[in-house]
Symmetry: C2
Subunit: 356 residues, 2 copies
DNA sequence: TTGAAAGCGCTAACAA
DNA sequence: TTGTTAGCGCTTTCAA
């Protein structure tokens, strides 16, 4: 009640001890649920503690024990819904284990990764889930040596020894293209993610393989690189258009790119899927609500996050890879290519998802 | 080199002191950049420290000093891009002040808010930016008393004494409706956010006021409540449709709702903006890339976050409100209402997008 | 079953 | 300018 504002002196374990007429050690034992305390004493201490509104000081505890009950997840762009969903998965699963999740947006910048990792390490956060760390191998090794346990999610890190949880991106690329092929498309463009990112290459490879398997050629003029944003996708589509390339479908490396591509298509006077079909990747929540709804390769971000958390509690071989399956989600953004004769045959953008 | 994996014994300030042949106090002074150290000593200590790969233990420091250099931002849904952008603003501004930002997704659940706040408090994180805390006034007061400084962003908290940084939501609602009115719309529906959230009520009030100012009546049948998601927006649109209400435009309480409404419109056979105009709120990145691009009330999430951070460094009167201006961003989702004859005519021919 | 005492790694008077 | 000495609040042997 007295004291300066915001300076309410917090009760310590000693205050509780004194009040309960026991030692601090006993209070500690009771409050951290260790045994070896008489039931009566236990009850008594508990009462006194809650009476006094005692709150443990995690700093002191962590300093003493040299661990913390917090885990962190580092992602390159918190404004990308896919990562948002991923984070939610991590958080929910961590919570079940009594762990609190800290989220760090690195913006893909090494300096920020550095800052965060330093802060986490020096606060005894020993488990961190990372999506696309750009830090070099040596630096990462330094953190590992210092006691940080990394779990790479979605994207591998420059460090062969840590566990990786990701989707089967290559298969996803194939799935997307096979679907387009089935619809009758032959000229299929691809807007890829940054080639530096492994999954960009994997999806692209799937794209190429499916094409080749169908006896088609891979035309470099039909491939353009982008980043994983709507703006990048729109720009990439325009680039494709500028090249004068002929294509009736595009496989976008993620849903945001696909949305951008749809926008680019519209701005060049094309209609989806009548004039052009578009397939995305991720199946973010939004995909269901674009106009038309987006056909996409579904991966379950929430499940991926949850799976990553499992890793820390189950003994895992170093260097292990956990590959999650993907599946095609057919919605309204794909259809038959425009054929001169059959100008009006698709009329069905149902709201139902057809899962394959 | 020796030791168990992940158990590399970290050098302490004492190790450095011994090696540099000075006292721990001196090392501390050097490493935390305090003055009162001879330049020569300073250099020497610095060298030794980096030589030894010394890393400060933040836990020990924070415990001793009883503050930390971390701030936290608590948001209800990390998968909503608006909050993602907001967080980015906070983070960037905090970084400039040497503060590291922790992100906490409360999912709008009081229990999670509780968990996070406890963890933060007991780790000496004294500044937290909150968006729509649901915790009750007394609980919040408890944290305040314990030394947590809250800055409410976007949405006020149940605590009159903390600073609030938000947009002028009421004016935004008016802006949206005035625009629609200008286009010639008279039957304008509104899909609001949860009425529990203050800004839902503010935007709705703006909507109503603009209607009344134009001499129109507010028709309750044209207002439906939703949440701030695409799914909610789609559902709300369908509800409007089910009611058989006649309307030519809808003002959605946020962009995600607007996207959902566009989807709902499409699934009921309406075209935007030909048959129906839609206005959103927020101007998230996505708004530029929907089909058609979304007309919306723009608020700058990044700026809002940054402004909130300023608050903690500048002395601010308790209970102060900082209201940020909003502005209308006209894109392609709004246009003139369909005239009965035109509507009939279009049913027979395919249509192209309107001009701007 | 309980307590005394010694840390965990750092900072901050107060002396020297 | 530098060092000594107490803590910060909790955990954890080791005795009792």
């Amino acid at each position: 009640m007295a004291g300066r504002p915001g300076t309410a002196p917090r009760a310590t374990i000693y205050d509780v001890a004194k009040e309960a007429d026991v030692s601090a050690a006993t209070v500690s034992r009771v409050l951290s649920g260790r045994d070896g305390v008489a039931p009566a004493t236990r009850e008594h201490v508990k009462n006194i503690a809650s009476m006094m509104g005692y709150r443990a000081n995690a700093l002191a505890r962590d300093l003493s024990v040299r661990t913390s009950n917090m885990v962190a997840v580092m992602i390159p762009d918190i404004a990308n819904p896919f990562f948002g969903e991923l984070v939610k998965g991590v958080q929910a699963a961590a919570l079940e284990q009594g762990l609190t999740t800290l989220i760090c947006d690195t913006a893909g910048e090494a300096s920020l990764e550095f800052t965060y990792l330093d802060g986490l390490l020096s606060r005894q956060v020993t488990h961190v889930f990372v999506v696309g760390l750009t830090l070099d191998r040596a630096t990462v090794q330094g953190y590992t040596d210092a006691g940080v346990n990394f779990v790479a999610v979605d994207r591998p890190m420059d460090n062969a020894s840590s566990v990786l949880v990701r989707s089967d991106n290559r298969a996803g690329g194939q799935l997307a293209v096979q679907h387009l092929l089935q619809q009758g498309h032959r000229r299929i463009a691809h807007i890829s993610g940054p080639p530096k990112v492994q999954l960009s290459r994997d999806r692209r490879r799937g794209y190429q393989e499916a094409l080749i398997a169908a006896g088609l050629e891979v035309d470099p003029a039909l491939i353009v690189e982008s980043d994983f944003t709507e703006g990048g996708g729109a720009e990439a589509f325009l680039e494709l258009d500028r090249r004068g390339a002929k294509f009736t479908a595009v496989f976008a490396a993620d849903d945001l790119i696909a949305v951008g591509a749809m926008s680019g298509a519209a701005s060049t006077g094309r209609r989806v899927p009548r004039d052009i079909s578009i397939v995305g990747f991720d199946d973010i929540l939004l995909a269901r609500y674009t106009t038309p709804p987006l056909t996409t390769v579904g991966q379950n971000a929430v499940a991926m996050g949850a799976r990553a958390v499992q890793v820390i509690s189950s003994p895992v071989t170093k260097g292990r890879r956990i590959i999650l399956p993907v599946s095609l989600v057919v919605r309204g953004s794909t259809g038959a290519p425009p054929s001169p004769s059959a100008a009006r045959q698709r009329r069905t953008h149902g709201t139902h998802d057809r899962r394959h």
